[in-house]
């Protein structure tokens, strides 16, 4: 099965984009763009681009661009997950659950503003075979309380139970969102643990890149954008055993400025983040570094599950760039603006 998955990953890897290939599409004619997208395994996005300009006609995909991109990611995950079993299968399954958590947040927000079920149902991301929630029933919950109770009786009870208690006490939507995010990533780390032993250092490093990035960005955001006290910031981070350990995070949370936080990071990180001026910059630079690392894993002889995970990380990043490109074109933005949005490595040292 490992040989099968390796072959699958290698075949799918040919669909990834180089930065110059994306750049070439900015001013390309619609048909060329559509053909290129189709060749890269994105026929549904290609069809949309061909159809545009002629109006949404018969047979046009009614899903939003985001929904189609998620559907593409789920389709490819489905292909990769097929030969897997046990903890590897559970991990990739849970990796897709973040889209469902996003649905959960959409549902919660809709209940907070008293939106009608039909309106929110149209905005939820269809999860296909990965869907574990009954969106219809959840959308018809009367209020946040009923929704949380229904969620608590479902597959994400572990994540939601904690969030509900926090919400019951504080009635704070931010706390609810933060608890759900934290619960999800804690779950991801738990799902990754058994694989870290079997799939080796390459897999562990991919997870470490992800969790460390999440923790650093959240820490900066909570501490300096939302002005939360250090202890609360630390509590809201993901329990980590990677480069940014618990004690280092505790120390970072007590510092008084973003500059001080960046200066207190390990030396390798300081080099990576040199010259960064804001939190989105930190995210972009760290994501770029993680993507480079994922490329190395993808093209190495790492275990098949590590290569598959690396591919999914890179594919999702690519699809975000394609989304930016398509949106920019549809909005009629100047090529320079679209190029700016696509500069995935522009600020890298």
């Amino acid at each position: 099965m490992s040989a099968y998955l390796d072959t699958r990953v290698s075949l799918l890897a040919t669909r990834l984009w180089r930065d110059d290939a994306l750049d070439a599409l900015i001013g390309a004619p619609a048909d060329v763009l559509a053909d290129t997208l189709a060749r890269r395994g994105l026929p549904q996005l290609a069809a949309d681009d061909r159809g545009r300009g002629r109006g949404r006609g018969r047979g046009q995909d009614p899903r939003s661009l985001e929904q189609r991109i998620v559907a593409q990611i789920l389709d490819e995950t489905r292909v990769l997950i097929r030969p897997l079993s046990g903890s590897a299968r559970a991990f990739l399954g849970f990796w897709t659950a973040r889209f469902e958590m996003s649905n959960v947040k959409t549902l919660l927000r809709s209940k907070m503003i008293g939106e009608r079920p039909a309106a929110v149902l149209g905005r939820l991301t269809p999860m296909g075979a990965f869907g574990r929630l009954d969106n219809q029933a959840l959308a018809h919950a009367e209020d946040v309380g009923e929704l949380l109770r229904r969620l608590e009786a479902g597959p994400y009870a572990g994540i939601v139970r904690h969030a509900r208690r926090a919400f019951d006490e504080s009635r704070d939507p931010f706390g609810l969102d933060a608890a759900l995010d934290r619960g999800y990533y804690e779950g991801l780390v738990l799902h990754a643990q058994p694989l870290e032993k079997t799939a080796g250092a390459s897999f562990r490093s991919l997870i470490a890149d992800l969790v460390d990035r999440v923790n650093l960005v959240w820490l900066l955001r909570y501490r300096f954008n939302y002005r939360l006290p250090p202890a609360e910031v630390y509590y809201l981070l993901v329990g980590s055993r990677y480069s940014l350990s618990g004690s280092r995070l505790q120390h970072l949370a007590t510092l008084d400025s973003p500059g001080a936080v960046l200066a207190a990071l390990p030396p390798a990180w300081q080099a990576r983040l040199a010259g960064v001026r804001d939190i989105p910059g930190v995210f972009a630079r760290m994501e770029h570094a993680a993507a480079e690392h994922a490329q190395q894993v993808l093209h190495s002889r790492a275990p098949a599950i590590a290569r598959a995970f690396a591919y999914l990380i890179l594919r999702e990043r690519d699809l975000r760039a394609v989304r930016a490109l398509l949106r920019g074109r549809h909005l009629g933005l100047a090529a320079g603006d679209i190029r700016q949005a696509l500069r995935r490595d522009a600020e890298a040292p």
Partner: protein, 633 residues
Amino acid sequence: MLRAEPLYRIRLLVLTSELQDAALTLARFGVFSPAPVRTEALAEAPAAGYREAWLEAESRLAKLEEQCGLGGPPDVPDAAEAPTLADLEELNGWLKEVWGSCLACHENTARIEEARRRLDALAETLAKLERLNVDLAQLLRADSLLAVDLGSLPAAGIRRVTEALGMTGYLVSRFDQVGEQVYAVIAGPRSRQGEARGVLAQAGWHALPVPDELRTHPQAARAWLEGERARLDNESGAACGVLDGLRERFAPRLREARVRLALARPLAEAALAGVNGRGGLAALSGWIPKRQIDSLRARLDARFRGAYWLELREPTPAEVAEVPSLVRYPRWLAPFVPLVRSYGIPRYGEFDPALPFAFAWLLLFGAMFGDVGHGAVILLLAAGLIPRLGRLAWVGIAAGGASMLFGVLYGSVFGFEHLLPAVWLSPLHDPARVLAVAVAFGVGFIALTLLANAWNQGVAGRAAAALFDAGGLAGLLFYLGAVGALASLAGALDVVRPAATMAALGIALVAAYKWHEAKAGLGERILVTLIETLETAISLFSNTLSFMRVAAFSLNHVALALAVFALAGGLGTAGHWLTLALGNVVIIVLEGGIVAIQALRLMYYEGFSRFFSGDGRAFVPLRLAGGRPGFDA
């Protein structure tokens, strides 16, 4: 029975104000399957709001019915009309109100349960503190420099909370755990209480309130706790009373709501498939059987007295793939239909394989498991399971009957080969003949599947594929010619020259068709043509040889029986009969199951896969839940 009924696409135009009654009339009619038609002229969705209101009301009513223990299908009067959107919105509003009260009761009950658990924890805490001889009044003083709190939080988060509170100079000391809740005392500098409270709020901390009385006199504390418990019991009783009252007060109206929602359901369901309109005009589109057109007109005339417009047409070739399949089966064939449907649904116009499937499957099962005794046991068992399995039991009865029939032909009763004379042949004594018959059956079966495929291709408008493809008539020509030539070489027939000519002509036509269809460069085209033509020849013959398993299993049946007899023969009288009985049970259960699956496999993979795409759409008519059946339902 062998093909889906001819359908007409209809579009019923009515006033938007009568749309719900039009959908209800079609649901009562019972054979209208909604399907969308998008047109620029009718670009609005007049039933979208209706569906939305219905879904909300249905969801609330379902929750209330579950709460109140109501259920069962509604009794919908024949003359009842569907509610308008305004009626539906009003009903939805009322249901929202009632469910809101219900929800409040639930919230209350949950709150009371939680408060009880906290009181228990508080009582335990006090007992522990009493033993420690701690002065609670001092410990919990609001003006002391030390801030102390008692409370609970999820066990999973205790470590992280301890670490986070440590950053504010607070200590956490757990003293009890009930389920997933940890009860703890936290203490730290009052000056940083705000920071600590921020962490605790994120952590889902529930503070245990410690009233002043508890801080001073233990006896007063006990009395206070008892008083609190009594108060919670009263509240709990009141909450239950409210819920019971809801049931008594609202049950009749909830039943009435169920009827109204059943009447509204047809339009809500049709809206999902697509109801178009503009201004005051709305259109319901879908499919109905051609032979029901007059009945439909009569119904519409009776209901709308001419105030409607009905458009009818046959499906166009471009939309054939979207047309649902409506096949009517006689009652005796219906039990076999799920076995065909588990493979797929025939497309509109395609050959429906249910009837040949039933005969061929029974024939194969009987041939592989021919035994009067074993067949009789299967028949009786299946008959006994009719109350449990319903009509599916008839498949078992028919299989048992087929097994008995072949048992007579083979002269086999519970494995005994000498009790009955073989009417036709005995597999044990004439295995070569059994093999020849099985292969001959396979040839006939595959020839029929090729014919069926040619028919299906022709119906779908692919005449060239029907005539020249490997699964069409050219493939059949090659197959029959090659079989004739091989049979002649084996000495069974004497038609070697004409048969070889037929085979050569057939394979040449197939190759020419493959060449024509391959859209590639010259080299790739040659390769594709050669490989696909060769694959045609190989697969047809390998599929034919698959039918040798029919002979193999009929021999296997006898061999298994002989093995049981051999085992039993070495034992005493009791052991002999016990072994025979157990051996026969094993044969019936194990071999019977394997043979049933093998027969199904032959049907699916050597038969259906050759001609049956299985990707058709089921005809799903609008129906009225709890109403009287429509014309042909």
